[in-house]
């Protein structure tokens, strides 16, 4: 997870101007612990622990063997497709499931990055949801108009506009922060709701973007065929996996490169760690607050475009009101410690969980349908809780190490 010039994430999380003392110790502690447990070991072990606890819940609530449940969730996520020995119908089904998992992963990566990037600049962007919506709205609009336009160009336009729209929406918060110091938590929460109601207005009955075939149904027009992203795996009609997946992967690379290999990223991180020192160094804090928010918003807006152009094709007021992906993005980013690799894995974890725990993949005998979604909600909650607390494992391993050292103490 760690990159040559930056310490592994986790300490990027402070949303306030850092105080050398407290940071140094509080974070040093976690750092050397992290070094002791070389690399990925800690996250993995904590994940295991998390699933174990979740398993207990299943046992208590359903009285059924949690292993089989997890097996079901795992198969439901389609990850068993990776096992060569899975064959025949199972393989076909696994493929379908995996496509859905990766479909979710695609947008989760992007909304995750939207949160992570802001965090690297010391900003807490709760507004991923709103920025995602704005992105979706614009891509629906572009995608459903300009029918005559040539496909690739049309798609490019839709993506570009959606991305910019997301950037602009987050930019408002960035600007308010930069100019008058408005706390981004307030502004982004408020902007979320403004986005929601604007969306409901646009697609609602009599709204400017409501479809023109069924006058009474509060849904947008479909985007035109040529504006749809190509499905490269699975059935285009049955929501197969579209090439947006690669765009998301590319976004991860971009994120890493921008942060660690560009002057822009340097400025963003400097401001995130210590605005005072950044200012002294000649970096304009305001400018970077704005840039960081705008770039975050761009990721979220792009996520919206991916979903609309990739599989959703339309927006109904209902979708606008009930979507919560932006908030999941917060968990994804933080589980990923705001690092590129981490966000990728976090998104995959959530994609798999969300898809794997869907009722279509769980035995209705074990999971009463009316209870299933709540039960899986609990499991997801627990996993977030425990994966967040890597220190459990670090602590234990740290103990073991210290024990060893004091025995054969080298001078």
């Amino acid at each position: 997870m760690s990159e040559p010039l930056t310490p592994p994430g986790g300490e990027e999380q402070d949303t306030v101007a850092p105080d050398p003392e407290a940071r140094a110790t509080g974070l040093l502690g976690r750092l050397d612990a992290a070094h002791r447990v070389n690399g990925m070991l800690a996250p993995v072990l904590t994940a295991v622990l998390a699933f174990f606890i979740g398993g207990l819940v299943v046992l208590v609530t359903t009285g059924k063997n949690p292993i089989t449940t997890y097996r079901a969730i795992f198969d439901g996520s389609g990850l068993n497709w990776l096992f060569p020995w899975v064959g025949g119908d199972d393989r076909v089904l696994a493929a379908v499931n995996l496509q859905q998992t990766l479909l979710l992963t695609t947008s989760l990566i992007l909304v995750g990055l939207a949160v992570a990037f802001a965090f690297r600049c010391g900003l807490f962007n709760i507004g991923g949801q709103g920025q995602y919506l704005v992105g979706s709205i614009f891509s629906v609009w572009i995608g459903s108009s300009f029918a005559s336009m040539n496909g690739p160009l049309h798609i490019a336009l839709a993506i570009a506009v959606a991305t910019l729209a997301g950037a602009a929406w987050a930019g408002i918060a960035g600007l308010l922060k930069a100019l008058v110091g408005v706390n981004e938590v307030i502004s982004t929460i408020m902007l979320n709701w403004v986005a929601v109601w604007t969306g409901v207005f646009l697609f609602g009955q009599g709204g400017p973007l409501q479809n023109d075939t069924q006058v009474s149904v509060p849904v947008s027009n479909d985007i035109v065929e040529t504006a749809k992203l190509k499905v490269f795996w699975g059935d285009p009609l049955l929501q197969g996996l579209h090439i947006g997946f690669f765009i998301a992967l590319a976004a991860l690379v971009v994120y890493f490169v921008v942060l660690n290999r560009t002057t822009l990223g340097y400025g963003v991180r400097a401001v995130g760690f210590n605005p005072e020192a950044a200012r002294y160094g000649g970096i304009s804090v305001a400018r970077n607050y704005f840039l960081a928010m705008a770039i975050s918003g761009a990721f979220a807006g792009l996520a919206g475009a991916m979903d609309i152009l990739g599989w959703q094709f339309r927006l109904a007021t209902g979708d606008v009101l009930t979507s919560t992906i932006g908030f999941t993005g917060i968990a994804v980013a933080l589980l990923g410690r705001n690092s590129a690799v981490g966000v990728g894995l976090g998104a995959l974890l959530f994609g798999a969980l969300l898809n794997g725990t869907s009722t279509r993949n769980l035995d209705p005998e074990v999971f009463k349908p009316e209870l299933a979604s709540n039960l899986t909600q609990i499991i997801v909650g627990l996993i977030v809780l425990f994966v967040g607390a890597d220190l459990i494992v670090l602590w234990v391993l740290g103990r073991i190490r210290r024990g060893r050292r004091t025995v054969g103490a080298p001078a």
């Binding site: 009955q205 009474s216 849904v219 929501q239 209902g318 009930t322 919560t324 279509r360 209705p364």
Partner: protein
């Protein structure tokens, strides 16, 4: 032999994002499925959609699972269904609140389950106008969608027909879940003189009924019979989605299922109607409503609007 074939019938129910606990049509559809399991000895399974991303996977998973009938609940799934239906031409599909002939590509294996909500609304309107003392009655819609507006339009027509001079208030909570929103709206309407509040907002609407109870005015339930909430529930404008689902399943078990067309559920076939009338209501009310629905059955009352102007 028919008994044997029935036993093997498999039915899947796909909820929309409202989920099974929406106190609205998803829940009722499930009731219909459960009754079918008991009465028609069919196998049934429910697929819950947690987000729009679940529609296609759920529908196609059901189709792949060799279910004989796959029932989608709610117009939100209309487009997803037309795509899936095309892929699985041998599977029978049905969808609540959507008219099959109007679906994209007019799939031949999809049957619409549609309701004449306006008729139920009309009955509610009659009831409201009859008991109203203030001459003001009101409606609270969830989100402005076809079924909701049909209820409201019918209600307003019924009330006007009963008391031409009556004042009608109407608000939308923009929400089907948050009871507080509907309660606030209801309190506001009551403050403006409304003494009968008709809720057309699913779970949110329960807040409206609680406001009616608190302020000692009448409330009217929606979808299922909500008289169990208390004496303050004058009656309920029933939309018997359970009936619709049950009867559609029955069509399959009896081999009479036909796609590409709608099953219209109205007062005529007892698909919509009015629920238990509150014991506290004027004794004549029940009879009055019965006669009005008879008139609707007989076609004496027709052309009830579905759209709120």
């Amino acid at each position: 032999s028919s008994a044997k074939s029935e036993a093997t019938i498999k039915v899947a129910l796909i909820t929309d994002i409202g989920g099974l606990n929406d106190k609205g049509f998803n829940a009722l559809a499930n009731v219909g499925l459960q009754t079918a399991k008991k009465k028609l000895k069919v196998q049934g399974r429910v697929f819950i959609s947690k987000s729009a991303a679940d529609y296609v996977p759920n529908l196609s998973a059901a189709a792949r699972g060799n279910y004989d009938l796959v029932i989608a609940v709610g117009f939100l799934m209309s487009d997803s269904l037309s795509a899936v239906a095309k892929k699985f031409p041998k599977t029978k599909f049905a969808i609540v609140d959507v008219s099959a002939p109007f679906m994209k590509g007019k799939p031949k294996n999809v049957r619409g389950i549609v309701f004449a909500e306006q008729e139920a609304g009309y009955l509610a309107g009659v009831a409201a106008a009859t008991v109203s003392k203030t001459g003001t009655v009101s409606t609270i819609g969830g989100i402005k969608i076809p079924p909701v507006d049909a209820f409201i339009a019918g209600f307003q027509a019924g009330a006007k027909a009963t008391k031409p001079g009556i004042t009608l208030l109407n608000d939308y909570s923009q929400d089907f879940v948050d009871q507080a929103k509907c309660k606030e709206l209801a309190l506001n309407q009551i403050a403006q003189g409304s003494d009968v509040v008709f809720q057309v907002a699913g779970g949110c609407g329960l807040g409206a009924l609680s406001a009616a109870q608190e302020k000692g005015v009448w409330g009217i339930g929606v979808d299922n019979d909500q008289s169990f909430l208390g004496k303050h529930v004058l009656t309920s404008a029933q939309k018997k989605v359970d009936q619709g689902v049950f009867q559609t399943i029955q069509l399959v078990t009896t081999g009479k299922f036909k796609g590409g067309v709608d099953g219209l559920f109205s007062v005529k076939n007892d698909g919509v109607g009015f629920g238990k009338v509150s014991p506290a209501a004027p004794p004549t009310l029940a009879a009055k409503l019965a006669s009005v629905s008879a008139a609707i059955k007989a076609g004496k009352i027709s052309k009830i609007p579905r759209l709120v102007k």
